[in-house]
């Protein structure tokens, strides 16, 4: 009965938002899988923060608030941030974590400076920044759903087309290169897909929480399967599940922000997966451990 009443409450706007959140969850979950497997879980955090100056500059240059232009600015800045991180690691002795932290925080700082500049010209308000930080899932429109669907769908199709190549790249880069695959180009392709997923996701959960949308579904999915194919698929499903349930939960009561709720839903999925997933899960481990001990004990007793 409970679910029935929820269904009735699903009015049109909410449905659009839920579909949008589901699509975003699917895309970020599926593509986040590669980031997690490459141990670049926090690259998403850096890219999402580094996107702010891009959005600000895109706005300053064009004076337009068209989502597509802002998304383009965000993507370019996110890309440059990634490039800078890689260059710092390659050219200096500074390690990956520090390079990431510097780019993340200082790019964001530059964005903040630009934002205050824009604010002073009276063109924008604090709301713009809040949107960037926390997303605005509740305002997703039909048009946005279309953008997300097309861009996100295209990214997922690309991963499917180059499935074999990307899998090899992530598992064994040197071997891929020895077979003649251009690993650098593939690396760029994969990072670009990640950037697309992130700038799209910014709209739903915002910069601060974006990394969770990439990491949580993938980590949860990893516990249930040992196959990449299933892992990507499950991560997409978990992402969608988190998106929809977060949207619905936050709509049931006032003053529950959507983005954080989506993230918490994703976290719950992770918790359940880590605890109860067969074979890998903690509960499963405990049971097997106890059974082994009992068997050993019985064997010992039998010997006596």
């Amino acid at each position: 009965m409970e679910s029935l009443s929820i269904l009735i409450h699903l009015d049109y706007t909410l449905m659009i938002v839920a579909i949008g959140a589901a699509l975003l969850g699917t895309v970020s979950g599926a593509l986040g899988t590669y980031a997690v497997l490459r141990r670049q879980s926090l690259l998403g955090d850096a890219i999402s923060h580094a996107a702010l100056p891009g959005i600000a500059i895109a706005f300053l240059l064009t004076g337009s608030k068209t989502p597509l232009i802002l998304v383009l600015g965000a993507a370019i800045a996110g890309w440059l941030g990634t490039l800078l991180i890689m260059s710092i690691v390659r050219l200096t002795r500074i390690k990956y974590d520090s390079a990431l932290a510097i780019v993340l925080s200082t790019f964001f700082g530059v964005g903040l400076v630009l934002h205050t500049l824009i604010q002073r010209t009276g063109n924008a308000n604090q709301a713009g920044l809040d949107t960037f930080l926390f997303g605005q899932a509740a305002t997703i429109l039909e048009r946005d759903v279309l953008t997300i669907g097309i861009l996100g769908g295209a990214s997922i199709i690309v991963t499917l087309v180059f499935w074999k190549e990307l899998k090899l790249l992530v598992f064994d880069e040197d071997f891929a290169a020895s077979l003649g695959f251009p690993t650098r180009t593939l690396d760029i392709l994969l990072t670009s897909l990640l950037v697309i997923a992130i700038v799209l996701g910014l709209q739903a959960v915002g910069a601060v929480l974006m990394s969770a949308m990439l990491v949580a579904p993938a980590v949860a999915a990893r516990q249930w399967t040992n196959r990449l194919r299933l892992m990507v698929f499950l991560a997409g499903c978990f992402g969608a599940l988190a998106g929809v349930s977060g949207t619905i939960i936050s709509s049931t009561a006032s003053r529950i922000p959507t983005g954080p709720t989506i993230v918490l839903c994703a976290t719950v999925v992770v918790g359940i997966s880590i605890a109860f997933a067969p074979n890998r899960g903690l509960v499963w481990h405990r049971i097997r451990h106890q059974r082994n001990r009992r068997d050993l004990k019985m064997a010992a007793e039998a010997q006596e």
Partner: protein, 248 residues
């Protein structure tokens, strides 16, 4: 011994530097077809770098590499590679059969997926390394020796003429070590050329018929009987070799 026209691998005056630091100085190496060659040298001697340079994975500052008289790019199809076992994450979500099939990816080319034929080849290769029963096992559940066998099977399905293997004996159990040796000898019997980075000096003369002593430069290379001498070893390891069963 080195007759012209019959060189499986020909490394000429190869120098490799990482940034400003030379890792290999002017290396010459001729490997005739059908030999089992081990590259031996202390840590940091550039053994892995030499393998990677032969595979075109690092760019040399000088010199060249030819595989059967052609550059590597033209001969990819006839070269098989076994990287160090520790170079990949064995918790990657995939199973044994899948990893072995990766050996066919090069032959498949872009976008095309492995099909029934690749599956068959992979299963045959697993059979050869005694891992057929593990085909569907998740790779994180393998022992070190089993992981190594999987990597060998992956190289076998490449159906190459020249094999380059980086430390295949690293951290494997005695059974696997014997199995690998048998496999290497089988490959040689079939006319394949196998180059192995190795660091157990005790077994060099038992397992291999050629050896290259390397320490940033080539100290010596040739048949084990001729080259694997205490003098050469001393020069390679700088007098740090105490007891050694040598070729003589």
């Amino acid at each position: 011994m080195e007759t012209a026209g019959s060189k499986a691998i020909e490394v000429t005056d190869l120098t490799v530097a990482y940034q400003d630091k030379p890792v290999l100085w002017d290396i010459d190496l001729n490997v005739p077809p059908g030999v089992l060659l081990s590259i031996v040298g202390p840590n940091g001697a550039g053994k892995t770098t030499l393998i990677k340079a032969i595979l075109g994975l690092v760019r040399p500052a000088a010199g060249s590499v030819l595989i059967y008289n052609k550059p590597y790019e033209a001969q990819r199809q006839i070269v098989g590679y076994v990287p160090q076992r520790g170079s990949v994450d064995w918790d990657f979500p995939t199973n044994v059969l899948d990893v072995v099939m990766m050996g066919r990816y090069g032959a498949l080319g872009w976008v095309r997926r492995p099909g029934r034929q690749e599956r068959e080849l992979a299963l045959q290769a697993l059979e050869k390394v005694g891992m057929a029963v593990y085909a569907t096992r998740q790779i994180s559940q393998l022992s070190g020796g089993q992981q190594q066998r999987v990597f060998l099977a992956r190289a076998l399905v490449q159906d190459a003429t020249v094999y380059l293997m980086d430390e295949p004996f690293q951290g494997v159990d005695a059974t696997t070590e014997r199995a690998i040796v048998t496999l290497l000898q089988e490959l040689r019997a079939n006319g394949k050329t196998v180059v192995v980075v190795h660091h157990d000096l005790q077994t060099v003369s038992d397992y291999f018929d050629w050896v290259m002593l390397l320490n940033i430069r080539r100290i010596a290379s040739g048949p084990v009987d001729e080259v694997f001498t205490p003098d050469n070893l001393r020069e390679t390891y700088g007098g740090r070799v105490a007891f050694m069963k040598t070729g003589k």
